[in-house]
C-alpha cells in the first residue's frame, strides 16, 4: 500500500463522551471520505485523506453538532498517512494525559423519551434510559477520564444487547457510558420511611404514584440529589410537608410533565418556554395564572412560581402517571444540605417523607436544581447547578492565559471557581457554609474539583471580609506559601458581571451599581459594610463614588433575619418624629425593646453601620407587608414586598423622573403619609420601588456624565428583584447608557467566586507587566 496526503482537524471543547466520534464517522461516510477519528488528551483529532474540502467539512460539522457537544476551537493542518486508509474508522483513543472536559447532566432526549413509551421496546418504562445525547454525566463521575469504570455505573456490567449498542458506531448509544436497560442497569425500590422495602421496579413506581395521589410525601432519588414530592393541588398535603420540613413559607418549586401542563399553571412567553425545555431543564420563575389548580400553600405571597419540566426518565414516567403538577423541593431537612447518600437520606428524610422511591445507582456529586428567570427576553441564572456544571465558562479577551487560580467564593450561596487554560470552572451551588456538614463538603470539593480537572494551583483568592469562613479557610490553606488575594465583595460582583458580558481584560472602567445585603467594602468609606454602592471599576481597580447612606444593623446578623430591626434603624435615621405618627403599622414596632436597641446603636454595640440595599428592602417590607418579625428564608421580606408591588402594576411600567439626590427621608415620609391617607399597600410598595430606582438611576446618570462613562454594570443579589431591575434598566437605557446585566453567572453571591478569580488574575498580570 502507498502513503497519501491529508488534513488533520483538531477539535477542542466538550467533544468526548457526547457522541462526537460516531457523528464524525457518519459525516465522513456520507461524503465517502477516508481517514479516521480518535480521542486524545487535547480533545478529538480527525484525519481525512485528500481529496477533501476541509472547510466544507468543518462547516457541516459545526452546523450539525450532537446536542451535548460544545466546540471551543477547530484548527486544521496538512498531514501524511503512512498507509492510505481504505475507509473511515474510529481508532483507539491515544493514551496519556486525559481530556478532562466533562458534560453536565442533561434532560432526556426525544429519542430516549420515545423509547420509554414505545410498546414492546426493551426499555419501555425503564427509568434509567439514556444515550450519548442525554442522561447523567457530572453527577455520576468519580474521576477522569469519563469512562464507565470511573462512574457509579461501574457496578452494572453491560448485558450483551447493551454492549452491542455501546460498540456500534452507528448506534445512538455508542460509547454512552451510563448505557443501561432493565436487564443490566439500575432499578427502583420503594421503601417505607423506616427503610423497609415495599416494592421493586415498575411496581415501586406504581405504588409511589398511588402514594402521591393519596396526598402522601415521597422522597425521590433524582440525578444529583433527592427531592421531596407531594401533590401540588392538595393543600393539606403541601401544608404537612411544610410542617415536617420546618419550612413555613419558602416557596416550593413545581414539576410538570410537559409544556402543556405548564400552561395550566403559569403564563409563558416564547423565551420562557425555551428556557423550560432547554437541555439543562432548570427551574424557571414564572407568573402564576390566577386559575392555576394549585394549593395556596405552594408559594404564599409570591409574584413568581418556580416551575421545571420532568428531565429524567423516572420523572417523565412519574409525571405521566400522576397527570398533575407535583411540588418537587430539594430533599433536605431545614437548614441542612440536600442528601445524596442513601443512608443519610433515610435518616434525614424518613421523618419528613411517608415513602422513599430510591434506586441502586449512587449519586457521586451533589447537583441541585438550577434556577433561571427570563427578563428583557434574556435568561438570567439565579442558581447555577444541574445542567450547567461543570461546563466551563468562556472568558473574555485578554484572559486566554488565565490559569492556576482558585477562588473561594462567599459564605452564603457559596460556589468556588477555578481558572484553568483560559476558562473558568464554577462549582455547583453549595449553599450556606455556616452549616458544618456543608462546610465539610465544601472543604472536600475544594480538593476534589481541581483534581477532577487536572489543575495546577498557583494562587488563591477570597473575600476580604475578616470573618468569612471561606476566607479564613483560604488563608489557612495559604500557609503552603502560595499567594492569597483578598478581594472586596462588591468589586467581585462587578467583575463577574463584566466577564458575563464579554468585557475584555483591558476594558476601560465602567460604572457599577451593586445592590446586595452586605459585603466587606474596605477603607474607601468610614463604614466598612456595603450593600448599595456606585463604583467606578475595571478588573484591577475599584473606586467608591457614592452610595446609599450608612444605617445601623441593630444586632448585626440578627438584622438580616428580623425585618423590624431595620425598620427601627431606618425610621430613627430618616423620620425623627415617627413615634408621633399614630399608624397601626407602627404599633407593633412600638412593642419592641427600642430603648436597649437604641443604646446599642448609640454605642455601636454589635450595631455596625451598613449601606445595605437588602436591609432597606427588609425595612420597607416590615412597614408594608406581614413579614415583620422574622424572615423564614433569605430574601423573603424583599420577595413579598416585590410581590405586593406587582399587584399595583397595571399595563406598562413607567420609571419616575430621576431626582438629584438619594433622599431616604423623603422615601420614608412618603410611605408614612401614604399609610396615613390609607392608600392601598400595593401602590405604596410600587412607589417604594419606583422612587428608589429613580434615585439610584439619577446618581448613576450623574456619575456617568461626570466620568464620561457610557456602560453600567448592574449586580448584586438585590438585582434578582425583577421590578427594580426593570425600572433601573428603563431609566438608564432611556438616557443612553449601555446596561450590562448578569446572564450565565448569578448576580447574587453565587457568582462572586468568578469575580474574585478574575480580579486576582488581572492584578497579577498587571504586576508582571510593570516588573
Amino acid at each position: 500500500m502507498s502513503s497519501c496526503n491529508g488534513i488533520a482537524i483538531r477539535v477542542r471543547g466538550q467533544v468526548q463522551g457526547v457522541g462526537f466520534r460516531p457523528f464524525i464517522w457518519q459525516l465522513a461516510r456520507e461524503s465517502h471520505l477516508r481517514g479516521d477519528v480518535f480521542n486524545d488528551s487535547e480533545g478529538v483529532l480527525i484525519r481525512l485523506c485528500q481529496p477533501v474540502d476541509g472547510d466544507a467539512f468543518i462547516r457541516t460539522m459545526r452546523e450539525r453538532l450532537p446536542p451535548l457537544a460544545r466546540v471551543d476551537a477547530v484548527e486544521s493542518s496538512p498531514c501524511q498517512f503512512d498507509e492510505a486508509p481504505t475507509d473511515f474508522a474510529i481508532s483507539r483513543s491515544v493514551a496519556g494525559v486525559v481530556n478532562t472536559r466533562i458534560a453536565p447532566d442533561t434532560a432526556t432526549c426525544p429519542a430516549c423519551l420515545a423509547d420509554i413509551v414505545r410498546d414492546g421496546d426493551r426499555r419501555q418504562h425503564y427509568p434509567f434510559t439514556n444515550c450519548t445525547h442525554c442522561g447523567p454525566r457530572f453527577s455520576i463521575i468519580r474521576q477522569v477520564p469519563y469512562d464507565r469504570p470511573f462512574t457509579s455505573m461501574a457496578d452494572f456490567p453491560l448485558c450483551p444487547a447493551c454492549q452491542q449498542e455501546y460498540d456500534n458506531p452507528a448506534d445512538r448509544r455508542f460509547h454512552a457510558q451510563p448505557n443501561a436497560c432493565p436487564e443490566c442497569g439500575p432499578s427502583l425500590t420503594l421503601y417505607d420511611n423506616a427503610g423497609h422495602p415495599l416494592a421493586q421496579r415498575e411496581q415501586a413506581l406504581t405504588e409511589a404514584v398511588d402514594a402521591l395521589r393519596a396526598g402522601q410525601i415521597v422522597a425521590i432519588k433524582a440525578l444529583g440529589g433527592y427531592h421531596l414530592a407531594v401533590d401540588a393541588s392538595n393543600d393539606q398535603a403541601v401544608s404537612t410537608l411544610r410542617q415536617r420540613k420546618h419550612r413555613p413559607s419558602k416557596p416550593f418549586a413545581l414539576m410538570v410533565a410537559d409544556l402543556a401542563m405548564a400552561h395550566t399553571l403559569v403564563q409563558l412567553n416564547d423565551a420562557e418556554a425555551a428556557a423550560l425545555t432547554s437541555p439543562a431543564a432548570p427551574i424557571v420563575l414564572l407568573r402564576p395564572r390566577t386559575d392555576a389548580p394549585l394549593a395556596a400553600s405552594v408559594a404564599p405571597g409570591m409574584a413568581q412560581l418556580g416551575v421545571m419540566l420532568a428531565s429524567n426518565p423516572l420523572q417523565h414516567l412519574l409525571m405521566k402517571r400522576m397527570g398533575r403538577a407535583l411540588v418537587m423541593t430539594s430533599g433536605n431537612a431545614s437548614g441542612r444540605p440536600p442528601c445524596i447518600d442513601d443512608g443519610h437520606a433515610l435518616a434525614e428524610l424518613g421523618p419528613i417523607a411517608d415513602r422513599l422511591l430510591a434506586h441502586n445507582r449512587a449519586i457521586v456529586n451533589r447537583v441541585d436544581d438550577s434556577i433561571v428567570m427570563v427578563e428583557g427576553g434574556q435568561r438570567q441564572l439565579l442558581r447555577r447547578a444541574r445542567g450547567f456544571v461543570p461546563s466551563p465558562l468562556p472568558l473574555p479577551g485578554g484572559f486566554e492565559q488565565a490559569d492556576g487560580v482558585l477562588a473561594y467564593g462567599a459564605d452564603l450561596k457559596n460556589t468556588f471557581c477555578v481558572l484553568r487554560q483560559g476558562q473558568a470552572l464554577l462549582s455547583a451551588h453549595l449553599g450556606d457554609l455556616s452549616d458544618p456538614q456543608l462546610f465539610a463538603s465544601y472543604q472536600h470539593n475544594l480538593t476534589r474539583f481541581p483534581a477532577l480537572f487536572d489543575f495546577q494551583l498557583r494562587q488563591r483568592a477570597c473575600d476580604s471580609h475578616p470573618g468569612y469562613l471561606s476566607s479564613q479557610l483560604a488563608r489557612q490553606h495559604s500557609q503552603d506559601g502560595l499567594p492569597c488575594h483578598d478581594i472586596d465583595h462588591h468589586h467581585a460582583h462587578l467583575a463577574a458581571c463584566l466577564a458575563d458580558n464579554g468585557q475584555p481584560l483591558d476594558t476601560a472602567p465602567v460604572l457599577g451599581l451593586v445592590l446586595d445585603g452586605l459585603g466587606w467594602g474596605g477603607s474607601d468609606t468610614e463604614h466598612q459594610l456595603w450593600g448599595g454602592e456606585i463604583l467606578l471599576a475595571d478588573y484591577r481597580q475599584c473606586r467608591y463614588l457614592e452610595g446609599l447612606p450608612p444605617v445601623a444593623l441593630p444586632g448585626g446578623d440578627l438584622a438580616a433575619r428580623a425585618p423590624w430591626r431595620n425598620l427601627v434603624a431606618h425610621l430613627d435615621e430618616a423620620c425623627h418624629d415617627w413615634e408621633e405618627w399614630s399608624l397601626p403599622e407602627l404599633e407593633r414596632l412600638q412593642q419592641k425593646p427600642l430603648g436597649l436597641l437604641r443604646q446599642g446603636i448609640a454605642s455601636g454595640l454589635n450595631c455596625p453601620e451598613a449601606s445595605s440595599a437588602g436591609r432597606l428592602f427588609d425595612a420597607a417590607a416590615a412597614l408594608l407587608t406581614p413579614v415583620f418579625e422574622q424572615q423564614h428564608f433569605e430574601g423573603e421580606a424583599a420577595m413579598v414586598l416585590e410581590g405586593l408591588a406587582w399587584q399595583a402594576v397595571k399595563g406598562e411600567l413607567t420609571p419616575l423622573p430621576e431626582p438629584d439626590e438619594i433622599d431616604l427621608s423623603a422615601l420614608w415620609y412618603g410611605l408614612l403619609q401614604g399609610l396615613a391617607s390609607e392608600r392601598p399597600r400595593p401602590e405604596l410598595a410600587l412607589q417604594f420601588h419606583q422612587q428608589l430606582a429613580a434615585a439610584l438611576a439619577g446618581r448613576v446618570l450623574y456619575q456617568a456624565r461626570h466620568h464620561q462613562v457610557d456602560r453600567v454594570v448592574l449586580s448584586g443579589g438585590v438585582m434578582q428583584n425583577r421590578l427594580l431591575q426593570r425600572l433601573l434598566v428603563q431609566s438608564l437605557n432611556g438616557h443612553g447608557l449601555i446596561v450590562l446585566r448578569h446572564h450565565h453567572v448569578p448576580a447574587n453571591d453565587g457568582g462572586l467566586a468568578l469575580g474574585q478569580a478574575l480580579i486576582a488574575w488581572a492584578r497579577q498580570t498587571d504586576r508582571k507587566e510593570q516588573a
Partner: protein, 339 residues
C-alpha cells in the same frame, strides 16, 4: 481639696516612699514586702515539698471603668494571674504587682483599689511579695494599669494540658457565661439595664482544688477575653478534635440572655473573669460536677458539651431542632456576614 497622684509620687523620692509605706505596705502586711529590698527572697524547701514544678504566669490589666459591679481592676489583677496558675493545677504561692498610675488619679480611688487587691490576694491565699510603681503624665495611660506576675507550685502527680484531652471527654463550666462582659457594658453606661448584673470576677484556686480532689481532669482553661469560644477553639486545635457544645445546656444569666437576644451578642464570645472550662473523662464527670456545685464558685456548674474524634478540628454548637453552627475563634469584634 481632693488628694491626687502627682508626678512626684513616681519620682523615687520622699513622696513615693510615703505612698508605698503608708498606703501599700499597710494593706499587704507581709514580712517579705516589708523588707523593702529590690527583690523578694522565697524559700525553696517548702515549695519543693509541695510539688515538683514551678508554675509562672503574668497578665496585664487595663479596663474601663476601673470599678464596676462585682469588682474593680485591683481584684481583677489578682484573679487573672491566680486563675492562670490554678487552671494548670498549680497551688498559687506569691504575686508581684506593677502599678502604672496616671497623674491626677484620685488618692481615694487608689486606696480602694489597693484595698480590694489586697483583700482578694488574702482570699486566694497568695502573698504579694514584690512590686513597682510608676506615674505617667496625664493622658499617657487611662487612670491605672496593673501588671501582676505570679508563681505557684504544681504537685508532682498533677498533669493537665490541652494535649491530654481525649475523645469522649465531657466539657464542664463552673457557672453562667458572659457576666463580666455584660457587667462592663452596663458599667460603661452603654446599656442601662434594670436589675443588677455583676461581674463574675473571683479567684478559682479553691474551686480547682475541690475539683481535682473529686476526680482527674484532663485540661482546664480560664475563659477570659474571647470567652468560651476562644478556649474551645484553642483546645480543639491543640488536641485535633471536635468539640460539640449544646446551646440548651449553656448556663446563662437571664439578663445576659436578654441582651444577647436583643443585640445579637453571643455569650460564648463574651468575657468572663471567674469561669473555667474543664475537660473530664465521662466516667469522672459527674463526680467533678458535684464537687463544683458544692463549691461557692461553682453552684451553677454544668456539662455543656462533649469531645469527639474528627478528621479536622472544629467547634460546633448544636441548637434547637438539630440546627448546628460552627463556633469560630473570635476575630476582633463580631461582624455581620449575611449578604
Amino acid at each position: 481639696m481632693t488628694e491626687r497622684i502627682t508626678l512626684a509620687h513616681g519620682s523615687g523620692g520622699q513622696a513615693m516612699q510615703r505612698l508605698i509605706k503608708e498606703r501599700f505596705l499597710a494593706q499587704f502586711d507581709n514580712a517579705e514586702l516589708a523588707r523593702m529590698e529590690d527583690q523578694a527572697q522565697l524559700a525553696l524547701a517548702p515549695m519543693m515539698a509541695a510539688g515538683d514544678r514551678l508554675a509562672f504566669a503574668t497578665d496585664s490589666f487595663v479596663v474601663d471603668p476601673i470599678e464596676f459591679p462585682g469588682g474593680d481592676i485591683g481584684k481583677l489583677a489578682v484573679c487573672g494571674t491566680v486563675n492562670d496558675l490554678a487552671v494548670g493545677g498549680a497551688l498559687p504561692h506569691s504575686l508581684s504587682v506593677g502599678l502604672i498610675l496616671e497623674e491626677g488619679l484620685e488618692m481615694a480611688v487608689l486606696d480602694r483599689l489597693i484595698t480590694s487587691l489586697a483583700a482578694t490576694a488574702r482570699a486566694a491565699g497568695v502573698q504579694v511579695v514584690t512590686g513597682d510603681t510608676k506615674v505617667v503624665h496625664r493622658g499617657s495611660c487611662d487612670k491605672i494599669f496593673i501588671n501582676t506576675s505570679g508563681i505557684g507550685v504544681i504537685p508532682s502527680h498533677r498533669q493537665l494540658g490541652a494535649h491530654r484531652v481525649q475523645p469522649g471527654d465531657l466539657i464542664l463550666v463552673n457557672g453562667t457565661l458572659g457576666d463580666h462582659g455584660a457587667a462592663i457594658l452596663q458599667a460603661r453606661g452603654e446599656l442601662a439595664l434594670s436589675g443588677t448584673l455583676e461581674s463574675d470576677c473571683q479567684p478559682l484556686n479553691g474551686l480547682v482544688e475541690a475539683m481535682l480532689a473529686a476526680g482527674p481532669v484532663h485540661a482546664m482553661r480560664d475563659a477570659t477575653r474571647g470567652g468560651v469560644a476562644a478556649v474551645c477553639n484553642e483546645i480543639a486545635e491543640v488536641a485535633g478534635l471536635r468539640l460539640t457544645l449544646k446551646e440548651s445546656a449553656l448556663p446563662i444569666h437571664p439578663q445576659v440572655r436578654g441582651i444577647s437576644e436583643i443585640l445579637g451578642l453571643d455569650p460564648l464570645l463574651m468575657a468572663n473573669e471567674g469561669k473555667l472550662v474543664a475537660f473530664v473523662a465521662a466516667e469522672h464527670a459527674e463526680a467533678v460536677l458535684a464537687a463544683m456545685r458544692a463549691h461557692p464558685s461553682g453552684r451553677e456548674a454544668a456539662i455543656i458539651g462533649a469531645v469527639e474524634p474528627a478528621a479536622s478540628h472544629q467547634v460546633l454548637v448544636e441548637g434547637l431542632y438539630g440546627t448546628c453552627r460552627q463556633l469560630l475563634m473570635p476575630v476582633g469584634e463580631q461582624l455581620p456576614r449575611i449578604c
